[in-house]
Homo-oligomer: 238 residues x 2
């Protein structure tokens, strides 16, 4: 009951409606062992729930596009995912291939090893090349915060501001930790309104979703979009 | 002491020498947060230990090649790694890119979702296309056994026999489980001598290495190659 009250208070304070919550969620099916039929059902459901996008691995772009093409739900593709350790050339080809299959949004993972080596020249060039390869489509730079110290987080955000990338995204969901409120606040404090923020990784319920949004997340990446929206619907009925 | 005796018995029964053990190990550095300097040191050490290969993510191929080019240690690159969910086209481009950067061996992950969907037409075609892209270089097909039931394991092995792929490899090391003796025996019972077997994922010590080799593994993938060989050296001194 205390939990419910806390959520209701957040919903009221933030003026959240069904549409402005669902339109902030990228509903993701990224695990390696999903059958094609499971991906199809997931995409179909994501459209019904009016999510911002459905996110799939790039090799499933054309399958996912079939379900999203007549809807407002975009097709988001994960690129260089989840390790970020293919070459810039390979990631650019993967982006072009995903766009050819219908991708509207591209979530690419930075070369984390180069970032840990503080090779910011490489990093900034990589982001610029991938934004260019995306030809005006929405781009999200995944920085995998769980492997970075505070300075590295600050520096990658500053780099990103020079590149035209649309979002900075905290995590792949495959690292040792996912999104935290502290990371979202830190990223937001640097990029302000020049770049959007996507929180992803380990977000499983309505409360965490609302708190992350209130702290600066413009988009939420989760595989639990349906559960979160069902929780919301139940909450506003009570 | 019982542990030592058991290992010594295995070493004697199997007639294992330093060279034929090190030449069976692919020493792998595949984690996303390794600095360039750590990859360099790892490659340098892998050459000194005379491993069969050093395995890196494809984006680090050219860096790793610098250390292996004058040695007998091959450069092995992970492709479509670890989820296997980029398109066949992207994996083929990644293989070509890795070969251009000096890769001698290519460990590629099958589209596990297609395999779970029993789309063996897709799977067999994918393997053939990737073997073709590898242009005669050594190829290893990663099937990620932890997500497969027994029939799926048998069927993918049968598929592989039609494709010219050199090895079947159990695991990426990023799935929920790695190599098991049972899986190695099962794969070996199907592919016999028509295809080699690589056990990988979770192999951390000499005893497991020896047992997997005795049960049919021709190659061992591990990030603990140095520890395993040091254990071997200590063992044969006693």
């Amino acid at each position: 009951m205390v939990y419910s009250n806390q959520i209701l208070r957040l919903i009221n304070e933030m003026n959240i409606t069904y549409e402005n919550l669902s339109s902030k969620i990228d509903n993701a099916i990224l695990k390696p062992n999903m059958k094609v039929s499971e991906i199809e059902a997931f995409c179909d459901q994501s459209v019904k729930y009016q999510f911002a996008s459905v996110a799939v691995n790039s090799g499933f772009a054309s399958i996912a596009k079939y379900f999203t093409k007549k809807s407002s739900t975009k097709l988001c593709c994960a690129i260089g995912f989840p390790l970020g350790l293919t070459s810039v050339f390979c990631k650019a080809v993967e982006i072009e291939d995903a766009i050819n299959s219908g991708a509207d949004e591209l979530d690419f993972v930075i070369n984390i090893g180069r970032l840990k080596s503080h090779d910011y020249f490489y990093i900034e060039n990589e982001i610029k090349e991938l934004v260019k390869a995306a030809e005006g489509k929405t781009t999200k730079l995944i920085i995998e915060t769980c492997y970075l110290n505070k300075n590295e987080k600050i520096n990658i955000c500053k780099c990103a501001l020079n590149t035209g990338v649309d979002f900075i995204k905290t995590s792949t969901g495959f690292g040792k930790n996912g999104a935290t409120v502290d990371d979202v606040r830190l990223i937001k404090s640097i990029v302000k309104n020049y770049c959007k923020v996507k929180a992803a990784g380990g977000i499983k319920n309505l409360k965490d979703t609302l708190i992350l949004i209130r702290n600066g997340a413009d988009r939420i990446g989760t595989n639990s979009g349906v559960k979160i929206m069902d929780e919301f619907k139940k909450m506003i009925k009570t």
